[in-house]
Amino acid sequence: MNEINILLVEDNEGDIILTTEAFKDMEMENRLTVVKNGEEALRYLKKQGQYEGVPSPQLVLLDINLPGIDGKQLLGLIKKDEELKDIPVVMLTCSEDDSDISDCYDNQVNWYITKPIDYDKYTKVMHEIEAFYVSFVAYNK
């Protein structure tokens, strides 16, 4: 299987480390790019400025609480953009709020996942994402 490019949009350093570590252990070859706010994520996705020529991600992991454009707004922008809307987006957030969950699905998030706080569970969730993604979610761009 070819390398999978993943874009992680996350401002919390602890979560960035956890996610990076979890993806290092995975069986699928992957390249995880981290951006720390919504504006930067948009520049990355649209390959603007410093991001000219970057590969398109095959999966976006998106936090809700971000400085500037927040995760929900960014999701809306991605899913309304003809060029970007087919990229699977996973909300990965601490929020368990019913209205956050419904808003995200209304805006066509692919999966909404509440981040577990404990390290082992966090790693397990990342591996579940991998297993589900690699085995069953056909996606090529």
Partner: protein
């Protein structure tokens, strides 16, 4: 040996099932599928799942829309929490049904899993463009098919959060 395994299985699964049924409401799944073999396989696989679920089967795209709109024979039915959608079906095909769901203000929130024998690049990208939540190619043998359904369960009901259907 097989029989013994079944018993052990039952004993270990039962307590979990009880707590689930108490803490969690039944998850309603709409299966849109015209192939009788696949319907049987899916129903069997869902029977084995730990999560309390009920599966409603409709056999073509037009019937799926009637169900989702609570029209005709489906008057008074509740919206499902998850939709499993085949592509090749009589009347409306799965991609047309997907498009209808994702353009409807009330229905677009419901996660749609494309579950199809197709693995064509153009089907995959068209479904993602039309906001399918995920695209799964059905394996042909029963063992692998069961594995797929179990992974749908584990992913959608244990890892991901499902939205409440719109009122």
């Amino acid at each position: 040996m097989f029989h013994l395994l079944r018993i052990i299985n039952k004993i270990t699964i039962e307590p979990h099932l009880t707590t689930k049924t108490i803490t969690m409401n039944e998850i309603q799944i709409l299966l849109v599928e015209d192939n009788e073999g696949d319907i049987l396989l899916t129903l069997e696989a869902f029977k084995e799942l730990k999560v309390n679920n009920s599966v409603v089967v409709v056999r073509d795209g037009a019937e799926a829309i009637e169900f989702l709109k609570s029209e005709g024979q489906f008057a008074g039915t509740k919206l499902p929490h998850l939709i499993l959608l085949d592509i090749n079906m009589p009347r409306l095909n799965g991609i047309e049904v997907l498009d209808f769901i994702k353009k409807d203000e009330k229905l677009k929130r419901i996660p749609v899993v494309m579950l199809t024998t197709s693995s064509s690049e153009s089907d995959i990208s068209e479904c993602y463009e039309k906001s399918a939540n995920c695209f799964i190619t059905k394996p042909l043998d029963f063992g692998s098919f069961l594995g797929v359904v179990k992974s749908i369960e584990s992913f959608w009901f244990n890892v991901a959060q499902l939205p409440r259907p719109a009122a």
